[in-house]
C-alpha cells in the first residue's frame, strides 16, 4: 500500500477513536446521562474535520477527481 494512503487511513481511524472517546460510547453509562459538554462537542467536530480531510486526500489519491473526466459525485 502507498505509505501516504496508509497514513491517511490511520489518521481517519485516530479521528474516529477520538470521536468515540468524546461521545463516551460506553454501554454502562445510563441512557439519560448527558455526556457532551460544549468543549467536547468542539473537540468532536475537530475530529470529524480531521477525518473528513483525510478522506478527501484519499479520494484524490484514488483519482476520483482526475482531470478530463466527469466527476462521479
Amino acid at each position: 500500500m502507498d505509505p501516504n494512503i496508509g497514513e491517511e487511513l490511520y489518521k481517519v481511524m485516530d479521528a474516529l477513536v477520538a470521536l468515540r472517546l468524546d461521545l463516551e460510547c460506553d454501554p454502562e453509562i445510563p441512557g439519560e446521562t448527558l455526556v457532551l459538554s460544549a468543549e467536547k462537542a468542539r473537540d468532536a467536530c475537530d475530529a470529524i474535520e480531521s477525518a473528513t480531510e483525510s478522506i478527501k486526500h484519499l479520494a484524490a489519491t484514488f483519482g476520483d477527481d482526475a482531470p478530463g473526466e466527469d466527476p462521479l459525485h
Binding site: Y10, K11, M13, D14, A15, L16, V17, A18, R20, L21, D22, C25, D26, D43, D46, A47, S50
Partner: protein, 188 residues
Amino acid sequence: MRPRTAAGFRSSVLSRVAGTDLASVVFKDFAMDDAATRLRVFVVEDSPIILKRLVAAIEEAGAELAGHSDSAPGAIAALASVPTDVVIIDIQLRSGTGFDVLRALQDMTPGRSTIKIVLTNHPGSAYRERSFQLGATMFYDKSSESRQAIEFVHQLAARRRMAGKVSRNVEASRSNHLRMPESNNRRS
C-alpha cells in the same frame, strides 16, 4: 473486552485476580518510596487528537503528565531522564516505532519497572506478541479498547493515591510514636 496481557502474566495472574482490579496486581511491585507522588504518565503518540484525549484522561485520573513525544527517538531521550511510572505507547510514530521505545526501556534501569501500555491501531497477533516480547505490560486495540486503557490508568492512579495515604498514615503514626515518650514525660 478483557485487556490483553503478556502470556506468562496472563496465565499466572489473571486467574488469581478474577474479581479484583488488575491495577492492584500490576501496581504491587511499585516502590513505596514513590507513594508520596502522583502517578506520572508519559505518552508516546503521534496523533495530536489522540494525544489531547489521553492528556485529558490523565488529568481526570488525578495523575501527572510526565511528558509526551510523537517520535521514538524523542521519547527514548526523554524517558532516560524523566521519572515515569507509566508509559502509553503507540506503535506507529512520526519517526521510529513503539517497539523501539519498548526495546530502549528494557535497557534502562528504571524503565524495566515502568508499566508499559501499548495502545495501537495494529491489533494483530504479531504486533501483540512482539510488544509482550519487548516487555509491554498491557496491549490495547486503539479502535475498540481505548476506553479500557484509560480506565486502567484511572485504576493505577487510584492505587497510587491509596498507597500515598497509607504511606502518610504510617509516617504520621511513626512520628506520633516517636513523640509519645516526650509528651508523656512532660505530663508526668
